[in-house]
Amino acid sequence: MSNNGNGRTNGSPRIGVYICHCGINIAAKVDVERVTRFAETLPGVVVSKEYKFMCSDPGQELIQKDIREHDLNRIVVASCSPLMHEETFRKATANAGLNPFYFQMANIREHVSWVTKDKDLGTEKAKALVAGAVRRVSLHQALEKKRVDVHPDVLIVGGGIAGIHAALTIANSGRKVLLVEREPTIGGHMAMFDKTFPTLDCAACILTPKMSQVKDHPNITLWSYSEVTKVDGFAGNFTIQVTRKPRYVNEDECVGCMLCIDSCVYKQARVDDEFNQGLSKRKPIYIPFPQATPPVVVIDPETCMQLSKGKCKQLCAEACEKHAIDFNQKEEVIEVQAGAIILATGFKTFNPMRIPEYGYGRYLNVYTSLEVERLVNASGPTGGEVVLRDGSKPKSIAIIHCVGSRDHKTNKYCSRVCCMYSLKLAHLMKERSNAEVYNFYIDMRTPGKGYEEFYDKLLEEGTHFIRGRVAEVTDWALTDAEEGKMIVRVEDTLVGMPRRIPVDMVILSVGLEAQPDADDVRRLFGVSCSKQGWFTERHPKLAPVSTATDGVFLAGACQGPKDIPDTVAQAGAAAAEALAMIDKGFVELEPNTAFIDEEVCSGCKSCIPMCPYTAIKRDDEKKVAVINEALCKGCGTCVATCPSGAAQQNLFLDEQIYEEIEGVLNYV
């Protein structure tokens, strides 16, 4: 059984009980005074006190003073969720010289005051929970946390601006980073933009230098075209399996001269170019864009003659002076170690086919905002000239906000960046095409430094702002002016009248959605995500880049829609958190591991296949099961499985749990 720690365990329990008001968070629905007086009457309780904020310094000192003065050996605090402050109170207990595990917490906030309307019932439930905690704590034992060394490397998943910024921050501190990106190049969405709001600085000018720093940094290993396929271990010691897809080009040899692309047997580019959102074509052998990082070509096996049909003159290979092309490349699976992980997998844009009213896919000249980002991009398919799919130049342009956002049928949330990027596109379109630009918005959301001023600028430019959510983009004309145009049907809500506005081009400001594989990714890394697929931070205000899993951090839009300034700030924060953990050098593990009572174990082996972490083996000599404490995660599966009750778990001993239940039930 567990060792005896450093606390005083001898003698009968002398318990101190502390009931927290949490301002009025608890006190409004629980009569704290009554609960305190009640606790006094419980066997073993020496002192029972109430205080406004137990977690505050005076609150903690109260406990420590009582431990010394009243020679307490067990502590119960009835306050918030253990997730919030268990650590705080364990530390306070330890600081007074007691083993921190002689402490028990009763949750009377999340489990009582926040979920009840009736103060009497709330008070009664609080009393019952305190009674349970008091009985349980009597049976607590001294335990010790185990320290484990931390592996000093960091894994970053996703090479958008979030992943890039986090990688550079960590690498610059001298630590090693492995950056894993799924696409052939890093850069993410930002690489597609021409300009960025609100300053209108050129996206490439600020991004591509960072991309090449990533490539050249001695502390960064960049694996593009790769994905994490397995994660084992725990904070400080993760074992990660990365699968590297074959690009059929030797990365170490290719210098990005692109001679191969010119000489491919396909004389014309015929495949939709993903990076340009299908607005242009590429060849089977290609590079996503000239500044792609790494600057290495890739062959698409579906359209390459050699790889799909097994027959080609292989002019590409012939043209390559470095002999970099390798049709025999196979998928590689590599295992690496890391102490911390940063998830920076970003977002995808909403597919407007889901709102047929807006005509995407039906009318040629309806575009998504992301397509327009490419269209106005100097290195995009038209060299930055605004030419529509039908070859014409638009004289009037509609920009429709909130497409796939703030809508109960698609996504309820506001995507936060689209008002601003719609303003940016309105400006760029007007500048490049001199067309009349109409913005259709529900509410104009421009909170941010310099953002409202950007809106002012657009107003000055004479852009039309019509407050109304568009019902339909259609082509049934009622007047001559509407013939041959797309017609936007909207209510001008500020005027209070329906309007029909004929335009040549429609831009849909599509919202941001979680990656379609967010659920798989979250399982892989053991983090949780919201119903919409955004990864969940540990605390929305106080731990915005941590997750419920120690050692796994979040950066950028994978946690929720956000713009580049916020993304970069968060990436910096995630990097700092990861570094803080690594520089500490060790992590402490909860002593909630399972153990086998050898006397009782019959050696039936039932527990062995049940353990999800393969922590249990059979000692064939003693004919009993043995648990490897280093591997055990304290999930409790073996405890529930064991037919003879030999498997037990620290912090959750049967007697402790029964005692708590009895405490609660006896009161009720």
Partner: protein, 199 residues
């Protein structure tokens, strides 16, 4: 039309704070509270161009307790119950149902537009069903014009003749067999005032 000197202001004391709740109870759901005044309803509505207040404005006024304006508005009577607004609304506001509820309240209070064909048709419909269990389109239309605009009847009679000669007009009203059962049923329903006031 603009009238010189007519004040355009609303004092809080003129509003009916309970109005919205009444509507919610009538429609059986409180979706009206979710409206963000986006105007999708008004723009998708095929007849909003004929309304005195667009559906969006009616929702706003109803929510704020503009009792008189809402009940006297022509908007619900022009609504064709096409449900476009209901399915397009991003906040799933049950607008068509709200229009029905307003119509019923206006009829209960007797403030619906007089000699306006829509409520007249509705009531005529009601009487026919009570009498026969089924409706007869020819008689419905005849009654409608007699009670609203007899001149239109002459215009419509051309269509009526054509319908008759193509066998599409039943002159003798159909009557269900168990009309007693139907009447018992209708009586048993504790209907609202629209029924009570005119039965």
């Amino acid at each position: 039309m603009y009238e010189w000197g007519r004040r355009r202001i609303k004092y809080e004391s003129e509003l009916d704070p309970a109005f919205c709740q009444t509507l919610i109870e009538k429609t059986g759901n409180d979706s009206i509270r979710n409206c963000i005044q986006c105007g999708t309803c008004s723009s998708t509505c095929p007849v909003s161009l004929y309304m005195d207040f667009t559906p969006r404005r009616l929702v706003a006024m109803a929510r704020e307790g503009f009792h008189d304006e809402v009940l006297h508005s022509f908007t619900p009577w022009i609504c064709a119950s096409c449900y476009s607004c209901t399915v397009e609304c991003p906040k799933e506001v049950k607008i068509t149902e709200t229009m029905y509820a307003i119509k019923q309240m206006a009829m209960d209070k007797g403030v619906h537009p007089a000699r306006f064909p829509v409520p007249v048709l509705a009531r005529e419909f009601y009487h026919q069903v009570k009498a026969n269990g089924r409706t007869n389109e020819g008689r419905l239309i005849t009654q409608l014009f007699l009670k609203t605009n007899p001149f239109k009847l002459i215009k419509q009679s051309k269509i009526g003749m054509k319908l008759f000669f193509s066998g599409r007009l039943d002159v003798i009203p159909q009557k269900i067999k168990n009309i007693t059962q139907l009447r018992t049923l209708l009586k048993a329903v504790n209907g609202n005032g629209g029924g009570r006031a005119h039965s």
